[in-house]
């Protein structure tokens, strides 16, 4: 087993310092209510009951656990005019790949998480995703991609993608080198955060001094950015992601559909 990332945990600890932990959730989730809102992170649990989800992957317990953590906030604020912000700290290497996962319907567990995040947004909770590490494929769909606003820290280790390079090369019948060459000229295929930003999906990218373990200054900077993002949330949809020239077809298709509807 390869080493796992501690970024998500470190940022969670720093951002939720002194906050009240929410318990009753799987050990691979960290959830706490701080002044800014409810912070949620998926972290590595080397003792995870599901062996294929021990390195911070989003598996069955994580998917359903995220759903529960978000539902809990929705229910608690149901009668309140002011809905607490929900901040997903994203450092997820992948969904869990395994026999138990497929058999027990990991797709359904991830749908549970996506459903809850989307309902929170529709209920008026500002939902923010803070990318501090990997945001890969199904794991990101379950934890972060339903956010009103996505913020990414600027670092080579922060990346969004549909599939790891080795698997992507295999599936598209290319070598990793060929894939990299192609990715350099096709922005949606690239793995770096600047190419991703060019698709218009990020609200903000932010540089920090120490990505692995934030400094006091980093913390202040990111907290300020989160506040701005929360205040910036007006509607409950994802329209803010449209408009980039590298995602022009997504807007054009919608315009044509509306005209022909």
């Amino acid at each position: 087993m390869s080493g796992y990332s501690l970024r998500g945990l470190n940022w969670f600890n720093a951002l939720s310092m002194g906050a009240k932990a929410v318990d009753g959730l799987p050990p691979s989730l960290r959830v706490a209510d701080a002044d800014l809102g409810r912070f949620i992170a998926v972290v590595a649990d080397p003792d995870n009951r599901f062996p294929r989800a021990r390195n911070g992957e989003v598996g069955l317990l994580e998917g359903w656990g995220l759903a529960k953590a978000v539902d809990d906030a929705i229910n608690a604020d149901r009668e309140n005019a002011q809905k607490r912000p929900i901040i997903a700290i994203v450092d997820v290497p992948s969904q869990a790949y395994g026999r138990r996962e497929e058999a027990l319907g990991i797709h359904q567990a991830l749908a549970g998480a996506a459903d809850s995040y989307a309902r929170a947004r529709l209920a008026g909770h500002p939902v923010i995703a803070l990318l501090v590490g990997k945001a890969m494929s199904g794991a990101f769909l379950a934890h972060g991609y339903q956010a009103n606003r996505i913020i990414a820290l600027r670092d080579p280790g922060v990346m969004v993608h549909a599939m790891g390079k080795a698997s992507a090369a295999r599936v598209t019948l290319r070598s990793v080198e060929e894939l990299e060459a192609l990715a350099a000229s096709v922005p949606p295929m690239a793995y770096d955060i600047d190419s991703y930003a060019s698709l218009g999906l990020l609200w903000e990218t932010l540089s920090v001094q120490q990505i692995e373990q934030p400094t006091t200054e980093d913390l202040a900077r990111v907290t300020e950015c989160l506040k701005q993002a929360i205040n910036d949330v007006t509607g409950s949809d994802l329209k803010g992601r449209l408009g980039a020239s590298n995602r022009a077809a997504s807007s054009r298709v919608r315009e044509l559909l509306r005209a022909q509807w």
């Binding site: 799987p26 599901f50 062996p51 294929r52 317990l61 359903w64 759903a67 529960k68 969904q95 790949y97 395994g98 026999r99 138990r100 497929e102 058999a103 027990l104 319907g105 990991i106 797709h107 359904q108 567990a109 991830l110 749908a111 549970g112 996506a114 459903d115 989307a118 309902r119 947004r121 529709l122 494929s137 199904g138 769909l141 991609y145 339903q146 969004v160 993608h161 549909a162 599939m163 080795a166 698997s167 992507a168 295999r170 192609l182 000229s185 096709v186 922005p187 949606p188 295929m189 999906l201 949809d237 994802l238 022009a248 077809a249 997504s250 298709v253 919608r254 559909l257 509306r258 509807w261």
Partner: protein, 283 residues
Amino acid sequence: MTDSAALLNKHSFVELGARQRAKALLDAGTFRELLDPFQRVMSPWLERQGVVPQADDGVVIAKGLLDGLPVVIAAIEGAFQGGSLGEVGGAKIAGALELAAEDNRNGIPTCAVLLLETGGVRLQEANLGLAAIADIHAAIVDLQRYQPVVGVVAGSVGCFGGMSIAAALCSYLLVTQEARLGLNGPQVIEQEAGIEEYDSRDRPFIWSLTGGEQRFASGLVDRYVGDDVAKIRQQVGELLQQGLPVQPRSQRAEWFLQRLASLDTQAQIEPSVVRGLYQGERS
């Protein structure tokens, strides 16, 4: 009716292309396609990678009536690029669902049917496919506050990747024996986890875990139907008439967590264990 007469009367749904499937489900004469192939709204990303595009980017959007109900159908063509979703095809589905939700906010009760044959994200458009799938998830959750969204996985591609999550978000899900439904494709699991964990060439093993029959027996889908146009049409109509489910499957976190807590995860899993775990207490 004799057996052979029944066989002659049976029309396969699985063998139909996406456009024919959409037509077959809608009331006669009501099919109206949006962004039809002659408008040539094609992928802006495939040609530059040397991949031949398709005029509708592999997705058919059609409005019409189903048993008199206003419905929008999004049908994925599994034969084109494995039914993979790129920017255009993904935006067609997301955009159609968004407009259906908007209809409902304006008092028009448009519901949706998704015909899913897809491996998930089209890797040539990677991050734009993934983003489109997140939009599709968002739109399904929005729309099914008002009207049911019915997912159909008929086969033969099955439904995988981010679109298996979309399937799992649907109000109701209908499958045939030819359907497979799962997050990760068998080869990717084998590559990531090893052949001991998942042998991608062992077809009976894979079908026993992710095939339509097993998914139905495990309560992870709502209907299990023979591959027959009339039967599928009838069941989709019934599901739409049923209105919204009391508790959608994707909103049962507590129940699933409780079931998973009672599972012995030391042993490797068997299909019968899944059936017992998820269905044992229901019947």
